[in-house]
């Protein structure tokens, strides 16, 4: 999806402004949102790709004006409604109006698991098509749905630097296509290949590219 979330190479957002001694959270509600996000993983109703997809589908003006945890909260609402866990009228009334679905709920004993990332590695159906050193070109893909190939790196030539295993394919799992595991590669590009002849000659940028994003150069 060619959304405003795909920010690499955009101009006009201004300087980066680090905050000295930044706290973990700037308000108590932010912490509740983070905790809900982590705990809801255990319902297995949706995965991290679906969470990202839900946030990317927010209207562009909302995406740009909402804070990080506001986007998360809106994403949780959307997924919980889309997956049939809750209904919009329950959010409006602030209480459950119907019984919940019987889904696994995170307990205290799951806490160590909640603090590490989930595993997205999967067995491969076929050998990896590329190896380190191979020249590749990213495909010129513009799906209206979720993808992890950023716009700035489409239709660009680069080199495979590493094979990172076989993983759940975000483009597929967010479009009812199942996990459809794909090989993942670190693909590195010269800055000038991405940004033109006047770019910094000493710049290199890599992306983590799923095999369907690539073709031999």
């Amino acid at each position: 999806m060619n959304g405003v979330h795909d920010m690499g190479g955009m101009h006009g957002f201004g300087k980066v402004e680090p905050e000295t001694n930044e706290p973990a959270f700037h308000a108590a509600w932010e912490a509740r949102v983070l905790a809900m996000q982590r705990a809801l993983r255990f319902t297995r109703a949706w995965n991290i790709d679906m969470s990202r997809d839900a946030i990317e589908r927010l209207p562009a003006h909302v995406y740009l004006s909402a804070s990080y945890y506001e986007k998360w909260a809106l994403g949780i609402e959307r997924k919980a409604i889309e997956c049939g866990l809750i209904d919009a009228d329950e959010i409006e009334s602030g209480r459950a109006l119907r019984p919940g679905k019987p889904l696994p709920r995170m307990t205290r004993s799951d806490l160590p698991l909640a603090s590490t990332r989930g595993s997205f590695s999967r067995p491969s159906a076929a050998p990896a098509r590329f190896k380190p050193g191979d020249r590749v070109r990213t495909r010129n893909l513009n799906p209206p749905t979720h993808t992890r190939l950023p716009r700035y790196a489409r239709d660009r030539e680069g080199a495979v630097e590493a094979v990172r295993g076989c993983h759940v394919f975000p483009d597929s799992v967010t479009t009812a296509g199942g996990e459809n595991p794909q090989w993942l590669y670190t693909v590195v590009f010269d800055g000038r290949q991405l940004w033109g002849a006047h770019a910094d000659p000493a710049l290199k940028v890599s992306i983590e590219a799923f095999e369907p994003y690539l073709e031999p150069a």
């Binding site: 980066v16 402004e17 973990a24 506001e70 009334s93 602030g94 119907r98 307990t107 590490t116 992306i207």
Partner: protein
């Protein structure tokens, strides 16, 4: 803030965002999907247990132990798990050298190695950082007061999948004989993202 559509004069009132998040938690709790007591524990974990001290410990170990450094660069998940810390799969350590400086970003969302650096700072999640890091990393570094030689390669890692990256900076000069624990005080969060350099010995926390 987007959810706060209008200002409240009465500060005792909850903001629209607070009300909406509270409503969400209440509904999810009443329907049996989350347990508020478990949510409290998750918050406590992120406020008190995780943080960049975990990554700093690994970097300091690599500075004093060449075998550990090789293991960290070969498989950072395995190496740091060996220190007794739970780390997710596919953590990759990348080494800064005089010839190459590494910088980590996630242009599409805000992927970040939480298990070794804690929660990401707001700037890492911000549009200015996400938009500029891949096109103008030297400009971003200037925002952090960091200037590199023009001939130093800048390598930007865009975290577009479930791999995560931690930068290993070189050990500062003048730290010969320092203990691992003392060295860890020089390893800042930003130097493990690539937007900073390690503290110098004279800048060490007392």
């Amino acid at each position: 803030m987007y959810m706060s559509g209008h200002d409240h004069d009465d500060h005792s009132e909850l903001s629209p965002t607070q009300l909406r998040v509270r409503a969400l938690e209440t509904v999810l709790t009443e329907k049996g999907y989350v347990d508020p007591a478990v949510l409290d524990l998750i918050v406590e974990h992120y406020e008190t247990k995780t943080g960049p001290h975990i990554g700093a410990r690994a970097i300091a170990r690599a500075w004093v132990d060449a075998g550990f450094k090789a293991a960290l660069l070969a498989d950072a998940t395995k190496a740091i798990t060996g220190l007794g810390v739970a780390v997710g799969e596919h953590l990759i350590a990348v080494e800064n050298t005089p010839a190459r400086h590494n910088l980590v970003v996630c242009t599409l969302c805000s992927c970040y190695p939480w298990d070794v650096l804690g929660l990401p700072p707001t700037w890492y999640k911000s549009a200015p950082y996400r938009s500029r890091a891949v096109m103008d990393p030297r400009g971003v570094l200037a925002d952090f007061g960091v200037t590199l030689s023009a001939t130093t390669e800048v390598r930007v890692w865009d975290s577009t999948a479930e791999t995560r990256f931690i930068v290993m900076p070189p050990r500062p000069a003048g730290t010969e004989g320092w203990s691992e624990e003392r060295l860890a005080t020089l390893v800042t969060r930003d130097c493990m993202i690539g937007t900073g350099l390690p503290r110098q010995p004279d800048e060490a926390a007392p």
